[in-house]
C-alpha cells in the first residue's frame, strides 16, 4: 500500500511539474522529449473469488510477490536535425500479475529494470541506427523486433541497422543484434537482410504500384546441436527466407508473402524439432465508401523462439510475428473467449478472414450517416502428427460478426453489434482427435448521447447467449464524460446462468459473482491518468494478435502517461 501511495504522490508531483513546465523542451540547438507511462495495481484480498474456487492462494496462478505490481516506462529522446538519440528505462517493480514478465521475475524473485538506448542518423536516402533496433521485414513472418506494452513484450535487437534507398527503385536493409528476452539480453545472435525492388518506379508505371521483395534472417545459438540434437536440431545456425509481391491497381490491392524456415527448430522442447513454412495473402478492394479486405494464411511450425532453451517461456520469446488474424473485439462479452490459436498444440493452422465496410452518407448533412461493417473469420487445424498419432484437419474457430453504427443527429449515436462464435474447447487445452464445440451469440447495444458540447453519456448493454460452455452472461456499462478533462464509468458483468462441466444448468442455487469496475479518467495538458477499482475475470487478454492468460484478481489500478 505504501508503494501505491508513493505512486499517487508521484502523479501529484508530476502533475505539478506538467503544469509548471511548458510542452516542449529545448536543449542547445536540439530538442528533448520525455514520455512516462506507469501502470500500477494494488491487489486486494477477495474472499468471494477464493470461496468460488476461482482464485486459489498458493496455486500456480496465484500471486506470490506481495500486494503491489507496477510496469513503468520512461523514454527520453534527443533530436537535432537528422541526428537522434535516446534511452528507455523499463521498470517492473515487480511486474503486474498475469504478465509473462511476472513469471520470469518469480524465478529469481526480484524487481527488475531494463535500460535500452540508441543513436540514429536519418539521411534523405540512407539511415543508420546503433543500439536497440525495432524493425520488421514484410509482414514480420520471419523477423519482427517490436514493443507491445499491453503484454509487456519487447524483443528489440541490441546491435545495428543500416539501410540505403536508391532513387526509390531499390531499398536495401541489414540488421544484426542480440534480442531482448523480457528483462534480460539473450546471448543468441539474430541477423538479416531485406531487399525491396519497386518495379513501378523503375519502369515509370504511373497507374499503380508493383514491387518485389525478399528477405533472409538467421539465428545463431551456441551448443544448439549438443543440447537439442536428440530431438532433431542439426545446426547452430537457423536460416529463414521470405519472398513478397505487392500490387495495387485501380482500387485493387494484392500482397502476398511466402516464407520458410529451412532448418529444424524447437517449438516445444518436448516435441521433435521441425522445419516450417507460411503463405500469407491479403486482398483488398475499395470503391468510394465501400471496401473489402480479405486475408488468407496457412502456417506450419513458424513461431520461432529467440532462445530454444526450455525455461524461455511465453509470447515474449519470439523473434518473428505470426499473429492471430481474427477480429479483436472491444466489447467485454465478445472478448470472453477469444481465439488463441491452435498452433501451440497442433503446430499450425489454415484459415482467413474477410472484412466488408460501407458508409452511407448524406452529402448535405454531414453529421448524419450509417456505417456498416461485417467480418467473418475461420481457422482450421492442419493434418498433422503428434506423439506418433495422426490427426486430421478440423475446424477450430468461426466468428461471424457485424456492427451497424448510426449517427442520427449531432446528439445521438447508436451502435448495434452481433457476433456468433464457435470454437473447439478441446483444442484450447490439448491436441485430441475429437472436437468439443462451444457456441455463443453476443448482442450489444451502444448509445451515446451528447447533451451539449461538453456533457455526454454513453451506455452499453450486452448479452451473451450460450447453450454450452459457461451459459449466459450479461454486461452493462455507463460512462459519463465531461469533455475535455473528465470521464467516469461503472460497469458490471456476470454469469447469468452458470453451467456445470457437462453443459447442463447447475442444479444448485448459485451465488452470482459480479465482475464490476468503477473508474475515472483525467486528462490535462500532458497528463492522462486513470484510476479504477474492480474485480477482473480470469481469461485471455489479447493485444496485437497475441494473448496472455490473466488469472482473476481484484484491485485498485492507477495508470498514467505523461508526455513532454
Amino acid at each position: 500500500m505504501k508503494k501505491f501511495l508513493l505512486t499517487i504522490g508521484l502523479v501529484a508531483a508530476t502533475m505539478f511539474v506538467a503544469n509548471e513546465a511548458s510542452a516542449q523542451i529545448k536543449a542547445g540547438e536540439g530538442q528533448v522529449s520525455i514520455a512516462l507511462e506507469s501502470n500500477n495495481t494494488y491487489y486486494t484480498k477477495d474472499q468471494k473469488l477464493i470461496d468460488a474456487g476461482i482464485y486459489i492462494p498458493g496455486s500456480q496462478d496465484s500471486r506470490t510477490k506481495g500486494d503491489f505490481g507496477s510496469n513503468d516506462y520512461l523514454k527520453v529522446d534527443y533530436n537535432l536535425g537528422r541526428f537522434s538519440a535516446g534511452v528507455q528505462l523499463d521498470g517492473y517493480l515487480p511486474g503486474l500479475f498475469g504478465y509473462d514478465i511476472y513469471k520470469y521475475q518469480q524465478r529469481d524473485s526480484k524487481m527488475t529494470a531494463f535500460l535500452s538506448k540508441y543513436v540514429q542518423w536519418e539521411d534523405k536516402n540512407w539511415g543508420v541506427r546503433l543500439g536497440d533496433i525495432y524493425d520488421q521485414f514484410g509482414n514480420g513472418l520471419i523477423f519482427r523486433a517490436y514493443e507491445e506494452r499491453a503484454l509487456a513484450l519487447n524483443n528489440s535487437l541490441a546491435g545495428g541497422r543500416a539501410y540505403y534507398n536508391f532513387n526509390n527503385f531499390v531499398n536495401v536493409k541489414v540488421v544484426a543484434g542480440m534480442p531482448r528476452l523480457y528483462d534480460v539480453r539473450s546471448s543468441n545472435w539474430v541477423y538479416g537482410a531485406d531487399l525491396a525492388l519497386s518495379i513501378s518506379e523503375m519502369t515509370g508505371w504511373q497507374n499503380g504500384i508493383l514491387s518485389l521483395e525478399g528477405s533472409y534472417v538467421g539465428r545463431h545459438q551456441n551448443d544448439a546441436v549438443e543440447e537439442f540434437g536428440m530431438i532433431g536440431v542439426t545446426t547452430e545456425n537457423l536460416n529463414m527466407v521470405s519472398g513478397r509481391l505487392n500490387l495495387e491497381v485501380a482500387g485493387f490491392s494484392f500482397r502476398g508473402e511466402y516464407a520458410a524456415k529451412l532448418n529444424e527448430d524447437v517449438y516445444d522442447p518436448v516435441m521433435p524439432a521441425k522445419k516450417g513454412n507460411v503463405v500469407h495473402l491479403d486482398l483488398g478492394y475499395n470503391y468510394k465508401r465501400f471496401s473489402v479486405s480479405a486475408t488468407f494464411r496457412r502456417q506450419e511450425y513458424m513461431t520461432t523462439p529467440i532462445e530454444m532453451r526450455p525455461l524461455s517461456i511465453g509470447g515474449g520469446n519470439s523473434m518473428n510475428y505470426v499473429p492471430l488474424l481474427t477480429r479483436q473485439h472491444t466489447y467485454m462479452l465478445a472478448n470472453l473467449n477469444p481465439y488463441r490459436g491452435t498452433s501451440i498444440f497442433t503446430g499450425g493452422e489454415i484459415g482467413g478472414q474477410v472484412d466488408v465496410y460501407y458508409s452511407l452518407r448524406n452529402k448535405k448533412a454531414r453529421g448524419k450517416y450509417w456505417n456498416f461493417h461485417a467480418n467473418f473469420s475461420m481457422f482450421n487445424t492442419l493434418n498433422h502428427e503428434n506423439f506418433g498419432m495422426e490427426f486430421k484437419s478440423r475446424n477450430a474457430w468461426i466468428d461471424f460478426n457485424f456492427d451497424i453504427e448510426r449517427q442520427w443527429n449531432k446528439q445521438l449515436k447508436t451502435t448495434f453489434f452481433y457476433s456468433f462464435q464457435r470454437w473447439d474447447e478441446e483444442l484450447n487445452h490439448f491436441d485430441t482427435d475429437h472436437a468439443d464445440y462451444c457456441r455463443s451469440h453476443i448482442f450489444v447495444g451502444d448509445v451515446t448521447y451528447k447533451f451539449n458540447k461538453k456533457h455526454s453519456l454513453r451506455v452499453e448493454g450486452q448479452y451473451l447467449v450460450s447453450g454450452d460452455y459457461e451459459g449466459d452472461w450479461v454486461a452493462a456499462l455507463v460512462e459519463y464524460n465531461f469533455a475535455p478533462k473528465f470521464s467516469f464509468y461503472v460497469s458490471d458483468m456476470w454469469n447469468w446462468e452458470p453451467m456445470d462441466e457437462n453443459y447442463s444448468y447447475a442444479s444448485e442455487k448459485h451465488e452470482l459473482l459480479h465482475y464490476y469496475q468503477v473508474g475515472a479518467t483525467f486528462t490535462h495538458k500532458f497528463l492522462r491518468a486513470q484510476l479504477s477499482y474492480g474485480r477482473n475475470r480470469e481469461g485471455y487478454v489479447c493485444s496485437g494478435g497475441q494473448c496472455r492468460y490473466q488469472p482473476a484478481y481484484t484491485g485498485v489500478n492507477l495508470a498514467f502517461t505523461l508526455t513532454f
Partner: protein, 160 residues
C-alpha cells in the same frame, strides 16, 4: 527506481521551452508508398491523430472530427492526418476502414513499424497533436471524451 525516474524528470524540467518540430521518419501513404513525415508539412496547419483498428475511442474521435470538418474549414485552413499504428496483422483492415468509414477528406498514413509513434513519444492511443504550417508541434492531447474535438478546433483557430 521511482526516485531515479523522478530525478530524471526534475532534471529535464530545467531546460528552457520552445516549440518542438515534427520528427522526420518514414511512413506509408494510402497507396503503400514510403514517404517522409516531413512531406506532410506544406504550410497548412494540421491535426495529427494516432489511431488503430482496435482502439474504439480513436475511431470515435476521428469520426467526430470528420463530422465537424466542413464547418471548421469554413473558418480555418487546415487538414487532418490520420496515422494508423496498426501492424501487419491489421494493416489491410485499417486501409479498408479508412475508405469504408468515409474518411476520404483525411490524409491517411500507415506507421506499421511504429517509428512515427515512437518518435512522437506516443504511449497510448488516441493521441492527437496540432502541428502548425511550419511543422512545429504546438499542442498535444491524449485520450478522447465526446466533445473534446472542440478543443482541437479552438487550438487550430489560435494559430491564425
Amino acid at each position: 527506481m521511482k526516485k531515479m525516474m523522478f530525478l530524471m524528470l526534475a532534471l529535464f524540467v530545467g531546460f528552457s521551452a520552445s516549440a518542438q518540430s515534427m520528427p522526420d521518419v518514414k511512413i506509408e501513404n494510402q497507396e503503400g508508398k514510403v514517404i517522409s513525415t516531413r512531406d506532410l508539412v506544406d504550410g497548412t496547419p494540421m491535426i495529427i491523430s494516432f489511431w488503430s483498428t482496435t482502439c474504439k475511442p480513436c475511431i470515435m474521435e476521428l469520426n467526430a472530427v470528420n463530422d465537424n470538418l466542413y464547418d471548421w474549414l469554413e473558418e480555418v485552413d487546415m487538414k487532418v492526418v490520420a496515422v494508423s499504428v496498426d501492424d501487419a496483422r491489421t494493416l489491410s483492415r485499417a486501409r479498408a476502414m479508412t475508405q469504408g468509414q468515409g474518411w476520404d477528406d483525411f490524409v491517411c498514413v500507415y506507421d506499421k513499424n511504429q517509428d512515427f509513434k515512437r518518435a512522437m513519444n506516443v504511449s497510448l492511443t488516441p493521441h492527437t497533436f496540432i502541428v502548425d504550417g511550419k511543422g512545429n508541434v504546438v499542442y498535444s492531447h491524449s485520450g478522447y471524451t465526446p466533445g473534446s474535438e472542440q478543443e482541437l478546433f479552438e487550438k487550430i483557430k489560435e494559430l491564425k
